[in-house]
Amino acid sequence: MGPVAGGRRPPVRIFRWVALSVFSVLLAFPFVWMAITSFKQTSDLYDVENNPFLFNEMPTLEHVELLLGETLFPRWLLNTAFAGTMVVLITLLLAVPAAYALARLTGRWGERLGIAIFLTYLIPPTLLFIPMSRVVSILGLQDSLWSIIVVYPTFTIPFSIWLLMAFFKSIPSELEDAAMVDGLTRFQAFLRLVIPISFSGILTVVIFTFTLVTQEFVYALTFISSASNQTIGVGVPIYLVRGDVYYWGSLMAACLIASLPIAVFYNLFLDRFIAGFTVGAVK
């Protein structure tokens, strides 16, 4: 029997079935709608007499072709991948040693510093973006992809330190103690032993950081003003619309193509990501 008493009784099963159907439809519908819209002919899309759920005319790839061939969409994908990779590298370089230091080396202070670091994750971009735009222009990075590469680690590092700190604490410290008896320095033990066995924790940080880069909107909108330097999250909703004309077919294809891979990856690592938020409250 499951944790909910009476989990197999008919009323409970009906409740579950109804709740899951209703919410699955409500939550997934926009993505289904993107898929339907992406493959419809323009004349079909804009005929209000047509049943919008059906393909009243032959499905078409014209929107996808337009998107991939005549827009900056492929460029935005590349920009996002590049920015994501750089942010991941910066985050790992700074967060992995810092988390290890807080977990092992700083004693009582580690916990407090860890919480302080976590609280900086709560400082939102919408509080910082105005002065940050000045900082970005002082650094000479305005309208460059590098502006977000420099700024995004401000929110990926705190959360990554927090996640990795818990991860390192779960490794028994006898591991390094034994290695140090064998003549390694602590830093060598960290590099050669701790990092390899922390692979899954580090992978979580990589995925988490990369998806956050793809999801960020406010900073990219604020710092980058040329369409060709944009990321997918701002490029599609802002620059794929020309004037007041919405190319809904291509727009929806863009949303779908960009969302699905990110969603699949994120989904695989979600439990660990959530564990980062609930440390302490779930035991």
């Binding site: 499951g2 944790p3 909910v4 008493a5 009476g6 709740a19 899951l20 699955s24 409500l26 939550l27 926009p30 993505f31 819209t37 899309l45 804009y46 919008p52 700074l94 040693p97 810092a98 230091a101 080396l105 700083t106 510093l113 919480i115 900086t120 709560l122 400082i123 971009p125 919408t126 509080l127 973006f129 105005i130 002065p131 940050m132 900082v135 680690p153 401000t154 705190p158 330190i161 830093f187 909107f217 406010v218 909108l221 997918i232 599609v236 919405y246 809904w248 727009l251 929806m252 863009a254 949303c255 960009a258 969302s259 969603a263 994120y266 979600l270 938020f277 609930t278 409250a281 779930v282």
Partner: protein
């Protein structure tokens, strides 16, 4: 003893780069945000002149700002109410294993794991003034007349309702998964014992399970409030704060004033109004964390 000091030194060396980065790129702009809010700074201006509370007085006198303040609370409370009630139901429905659970979970998680700006554009199409699929269904069901279909993003109250619903749509998976983690952590024998004692499903749920989940529900609500109160993506994409500022919230107004309008000082002053809420939330989180340590 020497070993311990070495460890401390190594610890400081390993922690310092991250700390410096955060101080430079979070600390500096945070201090600047407060300085701007009590200064006279425009795009292109070089000097800085202290003006005290002038910016705050000026924004407080603006009806647009007072509207945005009200909308921000409405947006946050509305979206979080919907989210927390729905998340309780969903978590309960998802907690037992059943065939296809992984797939259902993927569907339910989509709004959170896909980039929000793209999800919001999907909704903009669903809520379109002419081609809204919702309106098509309503017309087919004879609930509305074709010429009189609701303008979801074109009328003040409806637009507010729309941005609240879309944000709730986005946040629901996040809260659901947090609550699910809490539900799974409840020792199975407690609700089972209650069932053996004759307590029904709902009674067990409301009198035993929900009280045991209070800390985790608090976590979900606190993060939900932060992510809602400080968000401008949904509003910016769906309505740009319109029609006639009827969906303007503090973050979007700060963006329009400070970034697009170039009035850095007034924009910063608007953003600073987010701080009291964030401080309260940080304090509540620290309390939660401390209590979890003691227990």
């Amino acid at each position: 003893m020497g070993l311990r000091r070495d460890a401390g030194r190594l610890g400081a060396a390993m922690f310092a780069p991250a700390l410096l980065y955060i101080v430079a790129l979070v600390g500096t702009p945070l201090v600047l945000a407060f300085l701007y809010s009590v200064g006279n700074v425009k795009v292109g201006s070089v000097g800085y002149e202290f003006v005290g509370l002038d910016n705050f007085i000026s924004v407080l006198q603006s009806p647009t700002f007072r509207g945005a303040l009200l909308h921000s609370f409405l947006f946050t409370v509305g979206a979080q109410l919907i989210v927390i009630i729905s998340a309780n139901i969903l978590a309960l429905a998802l907690v037992d294993r059943f065939r296809g659970r992984g797939l259902v979970r993927f569907f339910i998680l989509l709004p959170w794991v896909a980039p929000i700006s793209l999800g919001a554009i999907g909704w903009k199409w669903i809520l379109d003034s002419i081609y809204s699929v919702i309106n098509w269904v309503l017309v087919q069901l004879h609930l509305v007349e074709p010429f009189d279909a609701p303008m979801w993003l074109g009328e003040g109250a409806l637009a507010m309702l729309s941005v609240i619903m879309v944000h709730a749509w986005r946040m629901l998976p996040f809260s659901t998964v947090i609550l699910l983690a809490g539900l799974t952590a409840i020792p199975k024998d407690i609700p089972e014992a209650a069932a053996v004692d004759g307590a029904g499903f709902w009674r067990t749920h409301f009198q035993i399970t929900i009280p045991m989940m209070t800390p985790i529900i608090n976590v979900a609500v606190l993060f939900g409030v932060v992510f809602t109160f400080t968000d401008m993506t949904v509003v910016y994409i769906l309505t740009r704060g319109g029609p006639y500022n009827s969906t303007q919230v503090l973050p979007s107004l700060a963006f329009f004033t400070g970034i697009l309008g170039g009035d850095l000082a007034e924009g910063a002053a608007i953003s600073v109004f987010l701080v009291p809420i964030l401080v309260v939330i940080a304090w509540l989180m620290l309390r939660l964390a401390r209590r979890a340590e003691v227990v």
